[in-house]
Amino acid sequence: MAEGLTPEQVLALVPHREPFRFIDEIVELGDDHIVASYRFPEDADFYRGHFPGHPITPGVLLIEAMAQAGVVALGIHLLARESGPEEVGKVITVFTDANIEFGGLVLPGQRVVTTGRKLFFRRRKLRAEVEMKLEDGTVVSSGVLSGMGVPR
């Protein structure tokens, strides 16, 4: 098994960029799990429409934030460990399936922390159990997400 990348290196390799990047920091990273955080900007444009006068973060973006942490970033780490860091740039991770439920709201400006735990990583498909919490520990979303590395 190849030497792993640092959390900073993994973060830099997550291909998403503004305005569709929902990962600020990787707090913990291991072969079985990741913890990553993101603060939703108070002035993000989507709050204008979701919903006028009552801004809440769209659930699909919570899923995306959990996927960028628990599937993409963790997947980059695992691929680098399995096949070497040079392989990471040759693939891009696409969503394959999801089973998610929501238990709370994320308001503009709030920071969320996602924990992703690997269920399996085979043939470049990663399935992870994910859980997103607010800073006070409230669970806002949880479930299972999967993605697969495909050639760029």
Binding site: T96, D97, R122, K125, S146, M148
Partner: protein, 82 residues
């Protein structure tokens, strides 16, 4: 283990992922898992893990590449069960 029993269990495992019920009705050893049953290719890993759990075997990634039809899966499983 009889081939017919393996076949029955393989089809049962594939059923939730098969998007073509007509092909499932007339499934046979030559039925192609992706093209005929319309199983999403991204689900192949799920299918393989389900085979491993159900039959208590290990399937190497190289072996997965040889599986195209239901019969390929049945033969692979039979070879692993000895």
């Amino acid at each position: 283990m009889e081939q017919s029993e393996v076949m029955e269990r393989v089809v049962k495992i594939l059923t939730p992922w098969a998007k073509n019920p007509d092909a499932l009705e007339s499934v046979g050893m030559d039925t192609n898992i992706l093209e005929d049953l319309k199983v999403n290719s991204a689900r192949l890993v799920d299918v393989v893990i389900a085979f491993e759990d159900d039959f208590d075997i290990e399937i190497a990634d190289e072996d997965v590449d040889t599986v195209n039809t239901v019969g390929d899966a049945v033969r692979l499983i039979l070879s692993k069960k000895g």
